[in-house]
Point group: C2
Chain length 292, copies 2
């Protein structure tokens, strides 16, 4: 089976390598062409455009940054749409708008091709280790065809629903991350201002109803006011904007997600956009005068 | 060692029974006296007032509802303060104001007695099984004296800091519960309005950065819009008010905790105050028109 993989970023490059390792024929493309080289050195072919990459592929995977990037790769000049074979499958693993996803799926259908949205969580570490969580939207038959390739990249693969459902699940993931992390940041500000040993508080409350991945894995970042990656604030803000746009279309108010998006907006403006998203605790700490 | 236990409520009664089972002599008192009977039937003595209960005790435990209740039991007519022996120890396991706690500790000190604040989490199930998490504030030597008795009631016992620190840790616990549950409720509203199978979404996102006790253990309540106990909305609202008061005294803004307190205020007004605190999802669902 021939796999085209478009997008050799922090996520895409190791994901493509894992597909190679699983024994598939892989053709890669990246807008900045030299980023293709490390994966090509390990056995991938290179294509000069998304169109060219798609021309020979049974499955075309895209993993780029944002909605306009996926639209350029799929719909643009020399885009996948102009090269895709009848019966081929596109798997978009970027985190983008569910509405734009459904529109692209319709256009690909016009060429006899189908599409799955399959955004991931688990970060660059999960991409390297092949342990990503994959939230998939699409037809069951298409997902079945995709499984051997998805299994090379991920550990937990859940079929959420029809095309776009994977993107909505990812949006939900980011909304929950926003509020969970912020609640830890508020609790942290209260305890630090009161002079408590917050590592002890994390120990005391982490096993009960207040427990979360964020508290256990990012609480210490917030105590120390240092936020190594992780997942960048500016990428999380991008994902929250997707969630807020989807919520607007659906008529769902998300007051907490909107609040955290504003917090992250300020963090990016102050130059903290490349820190881990737990850096939102900077705001809670500073508003309490802890770092004054 | 003689233990006095004041407050035979849903929490206090099984906690006192566990102390009895551990082999201590226990004297109980409750404002509504007939509530003493089940524990007395298992071997506890009864006292007609907090003062009388304290008169023979090495350790006096209080476990009642709110700050004024503890103040009445400790400082009121026939309160513990008027019966306490020199060198005795008071352990307050209620969830109350850290400031009021420190004031009572001072007054007890005037009688040659000391005090530990030791609020708990883990609910009535934890009280029955003796698996509570106990967040303790006080002198290390006092905590050491208390340990044999605390071990009869709890599994995780953490010494957070000086008198009042246990209450602040409990306030932090409730602040984090508020935001964590609400973030799950927002994500839930987005997914339900989009028509997703939310059990699948919980499966897909629960193991990653969005994961929390609330998502894993209360997510299904929110999907089904049914909120069996659990921990009552009205008790959580009481605890949030304590947290907000402590935050006001310390100069710490808690915008999310204040928001959730308002949500719970409305729930109580609509007659949902005895549901589990995850009932805050009613607001997120209804604001999105899901139950219309």
């Amino acid at each position: 089976m021939n796999i085209a993989f478009i997008g050799m970023g922090t996520m895409g490059a190791p994901m493509a390598e894992n597909i190679l390792k699983a024994g598939f024929d892989v053709t890669v493309h990246n807008r900045t062409r030299e980023r293709e080289e490390p994966v090509a050195a390990k056995g991938a072919k290179r294509a000069e455009s998304p169109q060219a990459a798609a021309a020979e592929a049974d499955i075309v995977i895209t993993c780029v940054s944002d909605t306009p990037d996926v639209e350029a790769v799929i719909l643009g000049d020399k885009g996948v749409l102009h090269g895709i074979r009848k019966g081929a499958l596109v798997i978009d693993m970027s985190t983008i708008s569910p509405t734009a996803t459904r529109e692209m799926a319709e256009k690909l259908k016009g060429k006899g091709a189908s599409m799955i949205d399959a955004p991931v969580s688990g970060g660059s570490e999960g991409a390297v280790k092949g342990t990503l969580s994959i939230m998939a939207g699409g037809e069951a038959a298409d997902l079945e065809r995709a499984m051997p390739v998805l299994n090379a990249m991920g550990k937990t693969i859940v079929h959420i629903g029809p095309v776009g459902a994977g993107q909505i699940a990812k949006a939900i993931n980011q909304v929950i991350v926003a509020g969970t992390y912020w609640s830890v940041a508020e609790g942290m500000a209260l305890g630090l201002k009161a002079g408590l040993d917050m590592e002890k508080v994390i120990e005391a409350v982490g096993g009960g109803a207040a427990g979360s991945w964020g508290l256990s894995n990012r609480g210490s970042f917030m105590v120390n006011n240092e936020y190594p990656l992780g997942f960048r604030v500016k990428l999380h803000r991008k994902d929250l904007l997707i969630a807020l746009e989807a919520a607007r279309e659906l008529g769902v108010p998300l007051p907490m997600a909107a609040f955290v998006e504003q917090v992250e907006n300020g963090l990016i403006g102050r130059g903290f956009g490349d820190e881990d998203v737990s850096a939102m605790a900077r705001n809670a700490r500073e508003a309490a005068g802890i770092d004054a």
